[in-house]
Point group: C2
Chain length 317, copies 2
């Protein structure tokens, strides 16, 4: 991998500490998921960005007992701000650095939800290599195919507890940001799932604030397995048939639509010449499109659709 130290940017330990945290988190999350799966192991592809700098560790899993397809990817990338970034991503500066972890897991059993999480840190520099802007972003969200209210409650309340220790105003704020973000605007704001939390452009006011935001990201990353795995464990043994698979594939079609039409992360990756197979690992193993399909009113499929169309409060705040 290109050595990031060759890239002449002034940076203290902060950035290095973040990279260290992200790689450690990747190891821990992969281990926890492998233990739950019991069969499949993550495989790793290391890659480098050809044109400017950096690379990543793509870890993918497939054909498991639990996980049909998924990835837990990290990348540490940097380069010059390109014209495409300037005009399409509205990034104004000379050079940039980004490091983050992004994961998506698509389980086999339609009663086990798909999950997505991402934690990232971005720095922007002027021509003298001085930091002119920096921010954190991230979030964790759940995409069930069938609704179990207790699972939604568990997921959201685990996230809320973590956020509460950083300020009780955060969960309501980032929960509604999440509802707004993961929305298929071309389908009357239908959400791709039941949300979670989403935040972006968290800019530190000073070094002390930067450490606080770092700790906030750590807390969110560290709580991920506790938010997700108990749900997997509870639902992975439920029997299912072709009808449930059909519905799962239809909803996965919506997942594809969101990621390819609306998702900023996907856009950023493709516009900055990221590694396509790593970026598009978020896509499900299979998706289905039926013309104008509507589940029967009052069915379990319709119950899920309704909470996607009308986001709910899962916790009494």
């Amino acid at each position: 991998m290109n050595e990031i130290s060759n890239y002449k940017i002034r940076a203290g330990n902060f950035r290095e500490n973040w990279i260290h945290f992200i790689h450690g988190l990747q190891d821990r999350i992969c281990l926890g998921l492998e233990e739950m799966d019991g069969k499949a192991k993550f495989k790793e592809d290391r890659w480098e960005r050809a044109e400017s700098g950096g690379g990543g560790k793509t870890r993918f899993i497939e054909n498991g007992n639990v996980f049909e397809k998924g990835g837990v990817n990290t990348s540490v990338v940097f380069g010059n701000v390109s014209d495409a970034m300037r005009t399409q991503l509205k990034i104004d500066g000379s050079k940039w650095f980004a490091c983050g972890l992004s994961l998506v897991l698509h389980p086999l059993n339609p009663f086990v939800p798909t999950v997505h999480a991402n934690w990232r840190y971005f720095e922007l520099y002027n021509e003298s290599d001085e930091i002119i802007d920096r921010w954190f972003g991230g979030g964790t969200d759940l995409t069930p195919y069938y609704l179990f209210k207790e699972d939604a409650f568990h997921f959201h309340s685990t996230l809320k507890q973590t956020l509460d220790s950083f300020g009780e105003q955060l969960y309501p704020l980032y929960k509604s940001e999440c509802d707004r973000y993961f929305s298929n605007h071309h389908r009357e704001e239908e959400m791709r799932g039941i949300g979670g939390i989403f935040y972006d452009y968290l800019r530190p006011r000073d070094e002390h604030d930067a450490e606080r935001l770092f700790a906030f990201q750590e807390a969110n990353g560290n709580i991920f397995l506790q938010a997700y795995l108990p749900i997997v464990e509870k639902r992975m043994g439920l029997p299912f048939g072709q009808d449930e698979i059909k519905w799962q594939e239809i909803r996965r079609g919506r997942y594809v639509e969101f990621n390819l039409i609306h998702d900023r992360g996907t856009l950023f990756g493709l516009k900055t010449n990221g590694r396509t197979e790593s970026i598009l690992m978020s896509l499900p193993p299979r998706a289905r499109w039926l013309y104008n399909y509507q589940p029967e009113t009052g069915s379990r499929e319709d119950e899920l659709l309704q909470v996607c169309l009308h986001p709910k409060e899962w916790i009494e705040i």
Copy 2:
């Protein structure tokens, strides 16, 4: 349906003649496809654009002997140029009108190619309802899953013959436009299929030229069934199994990627608040994504992939 005559735009018979042609062509193409299928019939959904004006006739077919999923859609739409159109589609004017036919057919048998065609006419007006710009666009392209060189030759040579009578420079030009357009830029310019012809912004110099371009569109629309159906007839009886379905679904994933990330028509439809189910009818019945899948070198799957990566001349010109 909102009456287009209620929309106060000066227009002669030209626009009405185009609408008439498009609706007649829709009838004829649907009939020809139904005859080939022998089982499924097209169903029609008429829809109206809520906010400003116009609507469409969506005709969809599914679960046929030959066609697993497809649509032959027409629309006649008009409205005020919105901010989104101005900034994102670079359309500068006060009002606009568009009418066209768009079709996509996804056959069941992986040896039968998917086909797409579109013929459209667009007018742009100033605040005094005078035409300030107008253009034709369209094309026809083939997306096989397995390569039969004689089919590629038949398809391209049928299109070439039609174009030649309007000028022998046209086929080479629009063939290479097509290769450029239907390319997944995020996958090293891999094409979604073996192309055909594509043209856009054909602006008439005068009324005589407008009639000539109209006739050009008519000729292309009228030749469609002759370009496609002989291929369907030749391949629809070939036996296939799970391996061929798997490859078909993987290639259909690429089709989804192109349509949702790059296709201008899809973008235009979604940005102008078109009818989502009609726009996204182009999506295949099923798609599959496997991490970093590569067909075996020298296999029939690889043979197809190679001509997508390296567009060929199918005709000695």
